[in-house]
């Protein structure tokens, strides 16, 4: 469903991403791993439209999307989270989820002002969807708290819920386990697998937590210094000599 072909991104003299290719099928969890500064997040930023790639193609469901503005890409059904949680911290938890459903709602000003029946139904639907996902990530009781006051792990889960209410086809998670304790990481593991199994969402994952990556990924892509190093199933990656070298240094 998503194909990245020979993606390159150059910042002045620095070639941050060099000819990286990815291929994500429907119903699949694909991880991108690599040492710090390898260019993983830059690949994400190109995919989600934050950067305009200097070379290569990104095809989403057969259509070229590279260089499109970020909000349009997100409306196509590719939604991302951020390495550092980015919530609307002064808004309540449920408002965070309502904002995300903006494009599903009737945004006509007049119909909202006079509350037409159509507007009411849609609003109720988005509230129900928000309630469902809050329950799903265990935040229903905190629905009216300010998002900025949540604990860190809760904020991470809220960010994923906020993506899910947009009903994406592809979810891009940028280091979702960063800063989580082992118990929380385990919960996250189950959540991501269930997103794939129960909600039919494909997931692209950037992560440093190897046990998480090896556990849930269908395929793994390794990037080193902006260049693709290896790709394959977790088993193949674990035994790949280049990967071991890059991660552990030459013996």
């Amino acid at each position: 469903m998503l194909e990245v072909q020979n993606l390159s991104m150059r910042f002045g003299g620095l070639l941050a991403v060099d000819e990286v290719s990815l291929d994500i099928q429907e119903h699949e969890i694909v991880s991108i791993i690599g040492p710090n500064g390898a260019g993983k997040t830059t690949v994400f930023n190109c995919m989600s439209g934050f950067y305009k790639p200097t070379g290569g193609k990104i095809l989403f469901e057969g259509k070229e999307v590279q260089g499109k503005p970020d909000y349009k890409i997100s409306r196509l059904g590719m939604v991302r989270t951020f390495q550092h949680v980015r919530l609307f911290s002064q808004m309540t938890v449920v408002e965070n989820l309502l904002v995300a459903q903006h494009r599903h709602l009737n945004t006509n000003l007049i119909s909202g002002l006079i509350k037409t029946p159509n507007y009411r139904t849609k609003e109720q639907k988005s509230l129900d969807r928000a309630a469902y996902w809050l329950d799903r990530v265990g935040l229903l009781d905190l629905a009216n708290r300010e998002a900025g006051n949540l604990a860190y792990g809760q904020q991470r889960r809220l960010e994923i819920a906020r993506c899910m209410v947009t009903e994406p086809k592809l979810l891009m998670l940028d280091e979702p386990a960063a800063g989580l304790n082992p118990a929380e990481t385990k919960e996250l593991n189950q959540l991501i697998v269930s997103l794939k199994e129960d909600y039919n969402v494909s997931v692209v994952l950037i992560e440093h937590d190897m046990s998480l990556v090896m556990d849930i990924s269908d395929r793994i892509n390794v990037i080193n210094q902006g260049r693709p190093l290896a790709s394959g199933t977790p088993e193949e990656i674990r035994q790949n000599d280049d990967v071991i070298k890059a991660y552990l240094g030459e013996a």
Binding site: D70, R86, H102, L109, G112, A131, Y132, T166
Partner: protein, 423 residues
């Protein structure tokens, strides 16, 4: 530490002397054709010295004084005192507000003409501040040229009435829509700007409008302004002693009551009240709609908002346009109230005052903004006895306010949303 404090205090006191002595301590006196520089009398010099001593003492004991100020119990306690059931609280609130509006409807019939006139001005500021609250408080776009839209509304009515003899009621929507159009036009070039840069550009825009009005003499009359702006009519009834326009009747003759200048003042007040309530209700509705949440999302985190499919262009432009729309409303009412407008009424200070109202009231909070509008407009009037010191008192009140309640009179409260568990 103590020595440091002392040095700082001494420094402040000397600065006070340097600033105030040349300004207050010397007089320019005309003697024949020469201008002579003379020292002020001893009383003034003593006052200046006293001021320096006061600054010195305040800076020396600053910690203690600020500490004492903070320990003063808050005049408006935070809401968390007793967690009342949310829907009950909302119900009580709406009853109280309705009561206040009804009181405000009958109030002008029992008070002096001067107070009603002042109240009309307050309501105009309420409209302006509520409109700016959308741009600054909700969308987080610092707009220092808001007065431009106010001017557009006022001049639209003034010019249309001068050239086409349009009535107030027709000018009201036209003025507001034209102001909204200007908001949209300003919105485009500043889409990419945030914070300080945005503030500078909007400041420039406000000045451009004012300078344009000042210099386009053939159309706007320049600094001479435009006079003879008609009063609003009530179903074709005029409020003047004699009917000005053919076909109209006069209010006092229709109802067979004696003519009184007060009728017009009260009528204008009631119009302003209705419009202010309308403004408040519409914006309140917007805040609970997707567009309102989008404004706030953009203020909180633009990148996250875009990653969720919100178009920055649409969200920013809607905030500017809707904010400007209500400024246009206020401008039309203002033009009608004054009967005469000139660029003098739309200087930067006006923008600053409206912004001060929003900040004082609490960004995003409607009730707070209304309270602040009342305070900021009435306070200088009450302090009129202090003549030239009134702006000083006004400034001091603002500083104290920001020390006590930096979040504003009534900080914005989040809307409580009941959710049902979904299976």
């Amino acid at each position: 530490m103590a020595a440091n404090n002392f040095r700082h205090a001494l420094f402040c006191a000397i600065i006070t002397l340097i600033i105030s002595y040349p300004i207050i301590g010397f007089n320019l006196e005309a003697q024949g054709i020469n201008v002579m520089l003379t020292g002020a009398d001893t009383g003034t010099v003593v006052m200046v010295l006293l001021a320096a001593v006061m600054v010195f003492l305040f800076q020396l004991f600053r910690e203690q004084i600020m500490g004492a100020l903070r320990s003063v119990p808050n005049p408006l306690p935070q809401s968390s005192k007793e967690p009342m059931a949310e829907n009950r609280r909302a119900k009580i609130e709406s009853w109280v507000l309705t009561g206040i509006v009804i009181l405000a409807l009958f109030w002008p019939f029992f008070v002096s003409r001067g107070s009603v006139d002042l109240a009309t001005l307050v309501l105009i500021y309420v409209m302006l501040a509520l409109g700016l609250n959308v741009v600054v408080g909700l969308a987080g776009l610092l707009d220092l040229g808001y007065v431009a839209f106010y001017a557009v509304g006022a001049y639209t009515f003034a010019l249309l009435s001068q050239y086409t003899g349009i009535s107030f009621w027709l000018a009201l929507p036209i003025g507001a829509l034209l102001a909204a159009l200007f908001g949209l036009v300003l919105g485009f070039p500043v889409l990419r700007l945030r914070g300080d840069y945005l503030a500078i550009v909007t400041l420039g825009f406000g000045e451009i409008i004012r300078i344009l009005l000042n210099n386009w003499t053939t159309l706007t009359g320049g600094p001479n302004g435009i006079g003879g702006i008609p009063d609003p009519t009530l179903f074709g009834m005029e409020f003047g002693r004699r009917v000005k326009e053919e076909g109209n009747t006069s209010f006092h003759e229709t109802f067979g009551i004696a003519y009184s200048g007060e009728h017009k003042v009260i009528f204008l007040y009631l119009i302003a009240l209705v419009l202010a309530v309308f403004t408040a209700l519409v914006i309140r509705r917007f805040m609970r709609m997707p567009v309102g949440r989008a404004w706030e999302a953009l203020r909180e985190d633009e990148i996250a908002a875009r990653s969720l499919g919100l178009s920055r262009t649409a969200v920013k432009l809607s905030a500017f346009t809707i904010g400007a729309f209500f400024a246009g409303f206020a401008g039309t009412v203002f033009a009608s109230k004054q009967g005469f407008i000139s660029p003098e009424s739309f200087v930067f200070l006006e923008s600053a005052i409206i912004l001060a109202i929003v900040v004082l009231g609490g960004m995003g909070s409607q009730i707070g903004v209304v309270l602040a509008a009342i305070a900021v407009t009435i306070l200088p009037e009450l302090a009129r006895e202090f003549s030239e010191y009134r702006m000083l008192i006004f400034g001091a009140a603002m500083v104290l306010m920001m020390v006590w309640r930096p979040q504003g009179l009534m900080p914005m409260r989040r809307i409580h949303i009941e959710l049902k568990k979904q299976e």
